[in-house]
Symmetry: C2
């Protein structure tokens, strides 16, 4: 291949590569999400990255329409890359739900594409991790959604997080009572910015965009500021929505969710009724969730969702109510990195076997096979180089244990187990079937994992 034809290797603007050190924690996160979703009976689905353009346009906002990667395919069909996993779910459900039956619980972990402005450090390709229960209005599905989010963050190793829950009809009930029922979309859109811009700016926006009076805006803000324990908040909400059927139903649903989640054994502080949670999307009609990390509240919600009345109305006459939520994978990874929750390794293999004695490769392969059979990931260096060079390679990647066998060790039926963190070594007999080595390495890795 001649030099004059050489092409500069670069990733497309707005896109990025994931080398091992960032891909390993991403995979761990996705695996944890899959495991938790499955533990509740959510099934995986996948849909094509490309859809007919008409399936995707007009489903999100003008902004998502503008951001669509759209083009004509080989058959001159107008197509586009999906910009989320909800619109494909709606199309999928309209097409297959008769055969699949309801309730239908699915998860979908897959990349989506948006031609966004990259100046804010955003990328044009990112992975969404969604789960939804469709075809039921039951409170049990709302409750389960909260439990899934709870179990997910527990499984990810967070000990300080809170799921904040609200109900659209509680807000709507209040707005009805104070004469803002018709302006709810603009009021909620303003209210959704409360954490970001503060109460005074929210009031100004309500007056400007929703035509609220100053007293009305203040009532909304007073309402959003209701606080206390869940029972206290629910007790205060009752009178505030009294007389509005929607509001009363919303409060009753919230009370049902709180009681069941409590009954299922979840600590009280993990799920909190928060009347200020509005979520910007018009889409939601019932309960809404956001999830915040205690140590990093400023990064915003890392898992959000809610209940909707009609998922697939654009594609089918069948009404499909449902509830779902989405884990913000990239935001969560950034948070975990900031909190030091990510191991700094670039290999899935904690165990490293240097290739020391040039004609003893088979001995190294056998030892590696024994460790793999015990469930450990093991890398054997492919070339018989200087030991120091090989250990440097292992250290750079973050291996934790090296099993050194030179001619002397092999002749003596021994193996030197070197802890790459402490630098300490111990000699262990290879024995019959490597049982002693396997046990010693397992011990070392377990101790390492606990510190």
């Amino acid at each position: 291949m001649s030099t004059d034809k050489r092409i500069e290797p670069r990733t497309l603007k707005g896109f990025r590569d994931y080398p091992p050190a960032t891909m390993l924690p991403r995979e761990r996160l996705m695996e944890t999400a899959r495991r938790v979703y499955r533990s509740y009976g959510f099934s995986p689905i996948d849909t094509p990255a490309l859809e007919y353009l008409e399936i995707l346009t007009g489903k999100g906002s003008d902004e998502t329409d503008r951001q669509l990667y759209r083009f004509q395919d080989h058959g001159e069909r107008w197509v586009a890359l999906r910009f989320d996993l909800t619109v494909p779910l709606a199309r999928f459900a309209a097409q297959h739900i008769a055969e699949l039956g309801t309730p239908f619980k699915r998860y979908h972990i897959a990349p989506v594409w948006r031609g966004e402005n990259t100046q804010r450090g955003r990328y044009r390709e990112f992975v969404q991790c969604d789960f939804d229960t469709i075809g039921t209005r039951a409170a049990a599905a709302d409750i389960e959604t909260a439990l899934v989010i709870h179990d997910l963050f527990q499984a990810l190793g967070f000990r300080d997080f809170a799921i904040r829950v609200n109900h659209r009809q509680v807000l709507n009930g209040l707005l009805e009572r104070i004469g803002l029922g018709e302006q709810s979309t603009n009021v909620l859109r303003a209210l959704d910015k409360l954490r970001k811009i503060g109460p005074e700016k929210v009031a100004e926006e309500m007056i400007a965009t929703a035509g609220a009076t100053r007293p009305q805006a203040e009532q909304v803000l007073k309402f959003a500021a209701v606080s206390g324990t869940n029972d206290e908040v629910l007790a205060q909400l009752g009178p505030l929505v009294a007389g509005s059927q929607r509001g009363e139903e919303g409060v009753a649903r919230l009370a049902e969710i709180i009681a069941a989640v409590r009954g299922a054994g979840v600590a009280e502080e993990r799920l909190a009724v928060d009347v200020s949670i509005a979520r910007g999307l018009d889409y939601y009609t019932g309960v809404v969730f956001e999830t915040f990390l205690g140590q990093l509240p400023g990064i915003g919600s890392v898992c959000s969702g809610g209940r909707y009345d009609n998922l697939a109305g654009l594609y089918t006459s069948q009404e499909l109510p449902g509830i779902g939520a989405s884990l913000g994978l990239d935001r969560l990874l950034a948070a975990m990195e900031e909190l030091g929750l990510l191991e700094k390794v670039a290999t899935p293999a904690p165990v490293f076997i240097p290739y020391f004695a040039a004609d003893r490769l088979v001995d190294y392969l056998r030892l590696a096979a024994a460790l793999r059979a015990a469930g450990m990931n093991v890398e054997v260096y492919p070339e018989a180089r200087k030991l120091g060079q090989q250990l440097k390679y292992a250290d750079k990647r973050g291996c934790r244990v090296a099993l050194v066998q030179g001619e002397d060790e092999l002749a003596a039926g021994q193996c030197q187990i070197k802890d790459l963190t402490s630098g300490q070594s111990q000699s262990v007999s290879l024995g019959d079937g490597f049982a002693e080595v396997v046990a010693a390495v397992q011990r070392l890795l377990t101790i390492g994992a606990q510190t």
Copy 2:
């Protein structure tokens, strides 16, 4: 949402949805591949679905160029969807290898897109599962590639498969000796079709496209027909390539691989030297692999790969030799379906809890939580409907056990464990912490998994 705006829900021509029944085995396969790749220290990477067009054109064949999904993005940059994972690996390596260091072992499981003719039942989006070791020419990397393929098929549950191995230089050595050294590309391209079109047609093609004489073509075919045990084949190859340095080196490398894989404990019949394996790609320069299923040889190779001299020559002056292979996910799934190796289920949850007594949801949630804590996947039906209707739902999805608790059972502190396969029921005490139920369900699921 008004009816007049309704859009027909359909997948794009050449693309398909994966509902749970097909996505579950796909995920299982991908998870197994990840687990085996990691057990050898291969690390995950990911690269963008979209690349600059110039990165992708001219890297495969005229056919892949034609099949590229290409368009201009929002910044009027010409871009295209990747058609494989090897070209992105080359670009990635050229960009990052200085920082990552060699040897570099990566796996990459991700979708690729080709605007292929769909008439042959091919799809335009499919997942590739590649693993590669780059930056080394060592025999140990060739040997490890064979071991990874072996472990992968063992882990997938195949008991009858064979990895067929050959070496490009062995073929080239022979071609040199019989005066076809300059025509090797066309000769190997013809030879690669041996299984499909038979020896006579291959001979005709060699004569037509490589300008071989009839005796030359017959010598190639005689060479490709060398058979016997690995030791017998290697013994026959020696004299046939004698005098050609490349040929001799190729035979020596094959002998080294066979000896080490045997030494590592792999059954002899799993890896067979097969001189007829040529692989169509010009790209390969050393050892080449194909993998066949004993019960379905006709479907062709389900895992193929080989050694190359220079991965990223189009993007960098650094020479990056390597070896890799790719699991044919969709072909393998089709094979597993044909062999009845796929469970017919549409849920990851074998355990089903009907929602029977309307006000006892919390009891069902607690039981489910106890089973999940023991590692089981459990679905709780979200609505208190008739038991028969709920069990029909569970049965349709392929759940195996239902835990029935009506008012009577709950009052008596009992749970009815219903085996959905046999229809048999047993009553078990709920006890303290559900230990007895958990153990009984685990027992039932283990028995089910063994039959």
